[in-house]
Symmetry: C2
DNA sequence: ATGAAAGCGCTAACAC
DNA sequence: GTGTTAGCGCTTTCAT
C-alpha cells in the first residue's frame, strides 16, 4: 500500500509484456495468447491492480459511457411520482445492458433558483435525456446544444432537430373522455397537470386556457376537448400529487351543481379526487365517476380500481434508451410515439339519473 | 461544423496565447490579465468552444467528480419507497452544491441475477454510497474495496474500516413500542422489513427470529423487544410496500384473538395495516392501534395521521454527502447516527377494554 | 502575467 | 501475437 495506485504500465512491466498487450489482456479485444493473458492477470492480482482506470479509457475513447438524465423537477417532487420512477427504471435497465450509466441531473426547481444545474454545464455525458421537456423556455436544452451533447427529449414538443419520445396521450385522453360520455355523463370536470412553472392551483379562468406552456398538459387537455366536450370546469394543479387531486376534488365536488364525472390528467390526481369524493360522502362511481391517466397500480385505493389510460412506462424508458443508443451510433433516431390503452376499473359508471 | 470539436489548444492559438493561459481563462484559478481572459473567451465563442472537456480535466485531476450511489434493490422497487427517494433528494442536493454528480448504480435485484452490476466494476467514481448496506454478503462492497473506492454505507452494519451513517432506529422503535405499552396494549404484533433477500412473507416461525440477515431489520426488531415486550406475532414482509402491509394486516387482524396494536417497521407497511383494518371493519384506533416508522407524509391515509417514528431523511442525505466530502478530502469521517422522533398521530389510542 | 513542457492512464494504429 | 508509438484534452509546476 506504500506507493501510488498501480497502472497498466506497472502491470505490463511486472508481467514482462508491453502495455498494449496488457491492455488486450483486460479488454479481450484483440488477439492474445491465453498464457500471456494469464500472466498479465496474475501480475495484476499480485500488484493489486483492479482493472483499467476508467478515466484514462474514457479520455482515450472520447466517451464517458454516461447518460445524463435531467429530471424535470426537483428530485423529491419528481420521484414522488411513480410515473417518473417507473420510466427511469426502464431507462436505467436498458441503458445498463448497453454498458451505459445514468447520471442524475436535477432539473429546474424553483423559478428563483439558477435555471440550469452546474452539472448540465460541465459534467461528462455522451448523451442527455430530458424528462418532461415540454416547456417553451429550454435553458437546459440550450446549454446541452451549445455543448454539442445529443439529447433525447421525453414528452416534449416535437421540434426540428430534437429527438423526442412520447406517448399518444392526446388520443388516450380522448378515449377516456369518450368512455365517460358513452356512460351518459354530461357534466364533466377536468383536473389538469400544471400549465407552467408558476405552480398555480384552482379553477382556471377561461382566458388562461390558451396559455398552456407545458406541452404535456396542452396535449392532454386537447384530448379532452377533441371529443367535443365542453368541461364544466378545468382545475389546474401545481403538481401530479395525491394531495392536489384531493384539493381539486373537494372544490369541484362540493355543491349541488357538481359534475357527475371528473377526468384527470394523472392517476395520482384522480386518486386524490376519489378520496375527496369519499370524504364528501359521495359514492364512486354511483354519484361521481373518476378517470385518470397513467395506469398505475394504486393498492391503497382498494377496494377501488381506478379507470385509467395506461401508458407503457417501462417501454418508454426502453424506447428512450434505444434512441440514446442510436444517437451514440451516429444515427438520427426517429420520433417514437407509444400507444396507450384505456383500462376500465371500478371508478367509472353510468351517470346518475 | 466541418471539422473536429475545438479543443483548448485551438482556442489558445486563435487567441494567440498559450494553452496554459487559456486554461486559466476558464478555470479562473491563477493570475491572468482581464484583457487576455476576454480575448480567450471571445475566441472560444468564435470557435464554438463550450468549455474544457470534462474527460481531459478528469484524467488530469485524477477525479471524476462522480459519486456512485448503489441503490439497495431494483430501482423500481427502491424508488416506490419515499424513504429512499427523500434520502436521495437530500444526498443529490448536498452533493450538487459540492460540485459532485450522482451516478445511479442498480443494486442486487433478483438473487438469480449477477450479484454485481457492471457499473460497480468499471464506472468512474470517486466515492461510492451503498444504500441499505446491511446484508452480510457484500459482493458490491467487496468489489468497491478491491477497486479502492472509498465507500459510505447507509443503514448498514458498523464495521471496522467502513464508514457508516445511520439513524437511531433501535431506540426509536423502542419508543414507539413503549408508547403502545403506555396506552395499555398487551397484545401487540410486529410487521417487519425483510429478514434477507429471500423475500419471504408471513408470520415468522420462532426459529427464524435469530436468522435476520438485514441489519436494519435486526435493529428495529431489537428495539421492539428491548421494551420487554413479547409480541403476539411477528410478520415478515418481502418489501416495504403498502400491499405487503395490507396482506399482513389482513392476516394478523382476522380472528377474535387478534392483537390490539400493531407496530410496523415502516410507514408504508403501517398504512397497509390501517387499510386492512378498515377493510375488516375495525376502527382505528378504537379497535386496533397502528404505529409506523419513517415519518412520511401519507395524504391518502386521510383523515388519519399515522403515529410514526420520524427520521430526518433529508438530513441523512446531507450527512452522507458530508461523509463523502470528508472521504474526498482524505479524512476519515466518523460514524454519524441521527436522532429520530416519535410523532403521535391519530392511529394509536388506548387499548380496548 | 504568460509560456513551455510534462504527463494523468489508457487504447488503437501500425509495424514486426 | 506482441511491441512501438502516438496521442485523447487537459492542468499544473516551473521558468521567464
Amino acid at each position: 500500500m506504500s506507493r501510488q495506485r498501480p497502472t497498466l504500465a506497472d502491470v505490463a512491466s511486472a508481467a514482462k509484456v508491453s502495455v498494449s498487450t496488457a491492455s488486450l489482456a483486460f479488454s479481450g479485444a484483440g488477439p492474445i495468447a491465453a498464457a500471456t493473458r494469464q500472466r498479465v492477470l496474475d501480475a495484476a492480482v499480485e500488484l493489486g491492480y483492479s482493472g483499467p482506470n476508467p478515466l484514462g479509457r474514457q479520455l482515450r475513447r472520447g466517451r464517458s459511457g454516461i447518460v445524463g438524465v435531467v429530471v424535470g423537477d426537483a428530485l423529491k417532487r419528481s420521484f414522488r411520482d411513480p410515473v417518473s420512477v417507473q420510466f427511469l427504471d426502464g431507462l436505467v435497465g436498458t441503458l445498463g445492458s448497453l454498458g451505459l450509466g445514468v447520471l442524475l441531473v436535477p432539473g429546474p426547481s424553483d423559478p428563483s433558483q439558477p435555471a440550469v444545474d452546474p452539472l448540465v454545464e460541465s459534467a461528462a455525458m455522451d448523451v442527455a435525456v430530458v424528462m418532461w421537456g415540454g416547456t417553451s423556455d429550454h435553458p437546459v436544452q440550450d446549454v446541452l446544444q451549445r455543448r454539442g451533447i445529443p439529447t433525447v427529449v421525453v414528452e416534449g414538443r416535437r421540434e426540428e432537430g430534437v429527438v423526442t419520445v412520447g406517448i399518444d396521450d392526446r388520443n388516450g385522453m380522448a378515449e377516456a373522455t369518450r368512455h365517460l360520455l358513452a356512460l351518459g355523463h354530461e357534466r364533466i370536470a377536468v383536473v389538469t397537470l400544471p400549465f407552467d412553472a408558476s405552480r398555480r392551483e384552482g379553477i382556471v379562468p377561461p382566458e388562461r386556457l390558451s396559455q398552456i406552456d407545458w406541452e404535456i398538459t396542452r396535449r392532454r387537455l386537447a384530448g379532452v376537448t377533441d371529443t367535443g366536450l365542453r368541461p364544466t370546469a378545468v382545475y389546474e394543479t401545481p403538481a401530479s400529487l395525491v394531495e392536489h387531486g384531493h384539493a381539486a376534488g373537494l372544490e369541484l365536488l362540493r355543491g349541488d351543481d357538481r359534475p357527475t364525472a371528473v377526468v384527470c390528467h394523472s392517476d395520482l390526481l384522480a386518486s386524490g379526487v376519489v378520496l375527496a369524493a369519499r370524504e364528501l360522502g359521495l359514492r364512486v362511481p354511483q354519484d361521481v365517476s373518476v378517470a385518470g391517466f397513467d395506469g398505475l397500480d394504486l393498492p391503497w385505493l382498494a377496494p377501488d380500481v381506478l379507470t385509467s389510460v395506461a401508458q407503457p412506462l417501462a417501454d418508454k424508458g426502453a424506447a428512450v434508451a434505444h434512441a440514446v443508443e442510436d444517437l451514440l451510433a451516429g444515427e438520427t433516431p426517429v420520433h417514437r410515439e407509444l400507444p396507450v390503452t384505456l383500462r376500465v376499473g371500478t371508478t367509472t359508471g353510468p351517470a346518475p339519473a
